[in-house]
Each structure stands twice: as structure tokens, then as C-alpha cells.
């Protein structure tokens, strides 16, 4: 991390987040902060509350209580489109890609570049050239290799698809990129590519939150790891080989 990044307010700060689903307390006073140029690993066993936390941050759910700040400014993340407008991009496990469309159409789905502006949005003419160019630029910058930029995403391998999804998030995230299990379905080589891609996002100064069960990947890319258990934040560690066991026991709760 650079000095400038250290001094600025965190890109995203969550304070005292609470969320109940009926009688189940999914989040109980959770705090979270992630800075620009930092990869934060969000760890925890199934049902620990990780997914609830990121879904609240990305506008799918709403916190019952607690506050969210972006770059020190309080915000209200009331819907997925508000989250997008705030510069928070989330990559879910199921990707939400459009297999029948090419990378550029996937990048711009729901936010197409089109004109003229006086027409209703749906009747505007697509500016296909600029969208394709911008997409190609992002893919090139992030070194995502695509054989032909006009091939539909459905014809790509799992790793390429994941890379497209990550690049799409990176292209539009002005603040935070959240990745849910980015390497879960990938082979060794394809995981490698996606991890490298995440590291490039960090270099570009994005604030990154990664949910992962793959300890090796966490050790490699995360600057900090926070561990959740039963809706609480139970610990924070700097991932290093020597405290790997400690992180694992925080996750499984062996010290109870």
C-alpha cells in the first residue's frame, strides 16, 4: 500500500451492522473497513454471515441497523443499482454473465452507451464501437486474454468467464470490488490467472473484498484477513504461513 492510501479514509467502512432474518441473527454488530489498494479476505465457515454482509453492502439486503461510509461519507445502500452508482461492484459465485452475449455486451448490460439522449433509454441507438473499444481496453489493461472479442461469453472457458466477470466489475467499480468465491469452480491454472487479475486490481488502487475458502489463495493475495463466526467478527490477522493455523482455528471456532 502507498502512503497516500494509508492516510485517506477507508474506501468502505461498515459500523455496527446488524441483520436478522426472523429469529435468526445473521449479523450482530459487525465492523468492517477496507482501504484502497488493499485486498481484504473475509473468512468464515458456512453460515457465519459473510454472504449476508456482502449482500447488504451491495444493496441486495438492507442492514437492520448500522452505518456504511464510503471514503468517510455516510451513504445509504438501498438497492443494487444504488450500490453500482456508488462504485461498488460485486461478483457473485454464479457470475451473472450473459452467455449469449459478447464481452462488451456483458460489460454494458443495463448501462449501455447509447444516444441520442432525448429518446427514452430503450429506444436509443447502441454506440457499439465505443463500448467495444472501452471493453477491449479494460481487457488489455488487465491482461485478460480473449481470442476474439466478439465471441460470446458462453463459448469461453470457466477461467476466461471468471476473468470477464472480474474485469467487468473492475471497469465500473470506482470504489470497491467484492468477489464471492472467485476461484471456487476453477482449475489450478485458471485460478492462477484470476488471482493475478485480483492483484492487478489492487495495483490499480481498488479496494477489494474477497470471500474464499481456499486458504492457499488467501495466504497469497490478502493483505488482511478478517474472520466471522455466527454473525460476529471474531478476529483479524495478517495472513502469513506461521499464523495460518491460527486463522483456521478462528474460522472453525476450536478455542470455544
Amino acid at each position: 500500500m502507498t502512503q497516500a492510501h494509508m492516510n485517506a479514509a477507508p474506501a468502505l467502512t461498515v459500523r455496527g451492522a446488524t441483520k436478522r432474518f426472523g429469529a435468526v441473527v445473521a449479523l450482530d454488530g459487525v465492523d468492517l473497513a477496507v482501504r484502497r489498494g488493499e485486498v481484504l479476505a473475509l473468512l468464515g465457515d458456512n453460515g457465519a454471515g459473510k454472504s449476508t454482509l456482502i449482500k447488504c453492502v451491495s444493496g441486495v439486503h438492507r442492514f437492520d441497523s448500522g452505518s456504511v461510509e464510503m471514503n468517510g461519507v455516510p451513504v445509504e445502500v438501498s438497492s443494487p443499482s444504488v450500490a453500482r452508482a456508488l462504485g461498488i461492484e460485486t461478483i457473485y459465485q454464479d457470475l451473472a454473465l450473459f452467455d449469449n452475449l459478447d464481452p462488451a455486451a456483458n460489460f454494458y448490460a443495463g448501462r449501455e452507451t447509447a444516444g441520442p439522449r432525448w429518446l427514452p433509454r430503450g429506444l436509443r441507438v447502441l454506440r457499439r464501437g465505443p463500448m467495444a473499444e472501452a471493453t477491449a481496453d479494460v481487457l488489455k489493461r488487465l491482461q485478460v486474454g480473449v481470442a476474439d472479442a466478439r465471441t460470446t461469453v458462453g463459448l469461453m472457458s470457466g477461467g476466461q468467464r471468471q476473468a470477464i466477470a472480474v474485469a467487468r466489475a473492475a471497469a465500473f467499480a470506482t470504489n470497491v470490488v467484492i468477489l464471492d468465491e472467485p476461484t471456487a469452480a476453477l482449475g489450478v491454472r485458471e485460478s492462477r490467472r484470476v488471482l493475478d487479475l485480483i492483484l492487478r486490481l489492487r495495483e490499480e488502487g481498488h479496494a477489494i473484498v474477497v470471500i474464499s475458502h481456499a486458504m492457499d489463495h488467501v495466504m497469497e493475495i490478502a493483505d488482511r484477513a478478517v474472520v466471522m463466526r455466527r454473525g460476529h467478527m471474531v478476529g483479524e490477522e495478517i495472513p502469513r504461513p506461521e499464523n495460518r493455523q491460527k486463522i483456521v482455528s478462528l474460522i472453525v471456532g476450536g478455542d470455544d
Binding site: N100, D102, A109, G154
Partner: protein, 342 residues
């Protein structure tokens, strides 16, 4: 882009040449056109009359209504939907047109009444499906298939009403040289649909909704509006097909368009569109409609038993669907190759 799948896939070279799945995908992409060329070639060898201008005009005139219905059915199928009501809607709008003509002797008014009737049925379909939260458009449009036909029978007293304004007769049955006016109408509508699907944001949304409805919702695509719009357009197309049919036969009859919905669906499927949504294009849907028209006309010319026609069309549909299955397999192999190569 949407259209570019297989031929771009084929451009990915391996060593000395194209890899087999890519070539297969490219062939399947032009499959509908290939099939049409084969069928046309065979029939023109067997019948000297087939490729005469007079007969070609005939085929185009007979296919116009199906083609219009197929264009709109394509939009519906692209969103993973189906519209079974278009044949009945065609009849209803023809009957309404004929009855309006009995009291108002104005071509534009009659045409407007027919288009409005079709659009109204389409709007009912779309609104019931989306706001009634019905599980599948099959059910809604099956209901309107029945209701619209019933309404047409009830309004007309079960009888055809003779007489259509001159402009309607010209649109449906008139010739410009040896080409029917309806061919130009179809061409114009096809061009509009092509522009909608490939150039407008709305068209992109149609493909997005069909490719991944949940993803489209998360991406803030107005999914409900898109769904309603395709059923409204399908109803409007049924109105246009009603104008063509009524003009051709100079009447409005409650028995018009029976099973026309199945012809339209068959045309779209023969054109390689996928029932899983998000896949298909305007040109191939037209080719599918033409295929049906050509087979019917050709078998008539060759004096083949009329009962055999549905069998042949059934076989063609099966071939088209099988090609889609093979396409799926080839794409899987293509993905594997991509993964290995990357």
C-alpha cells in the same frame, strides 16, 4: 456481438487450420439457409414451374402472414417465452376489421381497428403474464388463444364477413409486377425488427433477458417492460397478419389463422432459435418461414398427397432441433479447447 458466434469461433485457428468444433459451429450457423437452398434446389429440379416468377410471387404471398408472425414470435422466444394466441388474434382482428368496414368505409380506419385489436390482445397477454405472475406464458397465451377465437366467432356469428377496403386488398393480395405488395411489407417489418434487435438498447435488453433473466434484473434492465413489450409487438404482428390475410381473401372470417401460431413457432425453430432464450436472429426466422412456404408450395406443385405435408414439416422441425442439440455439444467441446489453450 449477438450475431457473431460461430463464424468468429471458426476464426480461432489451431496450428494449420480450423479446429473441428469451430467448423461445425460455423456450418450449423448457416444451417437454416443451407437447408432452404437444398429444398429449393430439389423442388426446382422436380418441377419446372417452381422457379417461375409467377410461382415465386405465389410462395411469397402465401408466406407473408407466417413471416410477419414469425418475426414477432422470434422476439417472444428470444425472451424464453411463447405466444400461442397469434392465430386466434389474427382471426379476431380480421373479423373486427370486416365489421368496422361494414359501418365505416375507410381503409385507414379499418386497418387501424385491426392493428389496435391485435395490440390489445398482446397487451392483455403481456400484462397478465407479468403482473399476474403466471408461471409461464404458455398458459396465458393458451387462454387468449381460446378466448380470442371465441370472441371472433361470437362477434361474427360464426360467419365470414365479405368485403375489405381496397387498400387492404392491395396489401394482402395485390401485385407490383410479379411481387406481392405483402412481400414489401414483410421486408420493411423485417428491417425494422433487425434494427430493433441489433441496434437499439431495447433489442440488447431482449437478448439479455433471454440469456439470463436474473442477471438482467441485477443489471437494472427493465425486465418487466421488456417482457410486456414483446407480447404487445406479437399482438401487433398478429394484427398485421390479419390485414394481409383479410386482404388476400377479401373477407374477415373467424376461422382465419387456425394453427398459424404453430407455423410461426415452427418457422422460428427451423431458423435455429433456441427455446432456452437469447439465441436466434431475424434473417434465420424469415428463412424458417420461407422454408414452410416452399415445402407447402413445392409439394402442391409435385402433386404430393396434401396429408404428407405436415409430416415433412415435422421432419424439418426435428432436424432443426437436432442441429441445436449438436450445436450445444460442439460448443461444450469448443469451451474445453479454449480452456486447454489458455
Amino acid at each position: 456481438m449477438v450475431r457473431a458466434t460461430a463464424e468468429n469461433a471458426a476464426r480461432v485457428r489451431t496450428g494449420g487450420g480450423y479446429d473441428p468444433p469451430s467448423v461445425g459451429l460455423a456450418v450449423i450457423r448457416i444451417g437454416p439457409v443451407l437447408m432452404l437452398v437444398v429444398v429449393v434446389t430439389i423442388i426446382s429440379f422436380l418441377s419446372p414451374v417452381f422457379l417461375t416468377t409467377r410461382n415465386v410471387g405465389n410462395v411469397l404471398g402465401q408466406t407473408a402472414a407466417i413471416a410477419v408472425l414469425a418475426l414477432a414470435q422470434l422476439l417472444v422466444i428470444l425472451t424464453r417465452g411463447i405466444d400461442l394466441s397469434v392465430g386466434s388474434t389474427l382471426a379476431l382482428s380480421a373479423v373486427v376489421g370486416a365489421m368496422v368496414f361494414e359501418s365505416v368505409q375507410s381503409g385507414p380506419v379499418v386497418i387501424l381497428a385491426m392493428l389496435a385489436t391485435g395490440t390489445a390482445v398482446g397487451a392483455v397477454n403481456g400484462a397478465l403474464y407479468v403482473y399476474g405472475r403466471l408461471p409461464h406464458p404458455f398458459i396465458v397465451t393458451l387462454a387468449t388463444l381460446s378466448a380470442a377465437r371465441g370472441l371472433a366467432l361470437w362477434l361474427s356469428g360464426g360467419q365470414p364477413h365479405r368485403g375489405m377496403p381496397d387498400v387492404v386488398q392491395t396489401l394482402g393480395g395485390g401485385l407490383l409486377g410479379w411481387l406481392p405488395y405483402s412481400t414489401f411489407l414483410v421486408a420493411g417489418l423485417a428491417l425494422l425488427t433487425l434494427l430493433l434487435t441489433t441496434r437499439l438498447v431495447w433489442g440488447r435488453w431482449i437478448y439479455a433477458v433471454g440469456g439470463n433473466p436474473e442477471g438482467a434484473r441485477r443489471a437494472a434492465v427493465p425486465v418487466k417492460g421488456v417482457l410486456i413489450s414483446v407480447y404487445v409487438l406479437s399482438g401487433l404482428a398478429a394484427g398485421v397478419a390479419g390485414v394481409i390475410t383479410a386482404g388476400r381473401l377479401n373477407a374477415g372470417s373467424p376461422t382465419f389463422g387456425e394453427l398459424a401460431e404453430l407455423d410461426a413457432i415452427a418457422a422460428v425453430v427451423i431458423g435455429g432459435a433456441s427455446f432456452l432464450g437469447g439465441r436466434g436472429n431475424v434473417a434465420n426466422a424469415l428463412v424458417g418461414a420461407l422454408m414452410i412456404g416452399v415445402i407447402r408450395n413445392g409439394m402442391n406443385l409435385l402433386n404430393v398427397d396434401a396429408f404428407l405435408q405436415p409430416i415433412v414439416i415435422g421432419v424439418v422441425i426435428l432436424i432443426a432441433v437436432e442441429l441445436d442439440v449438436i450445436r450445444g455439444r460442439l460448443e461444450e467441446r469448443f469451451r474445453v479447447i479454449q480452456a486447454v489453450r489458455s
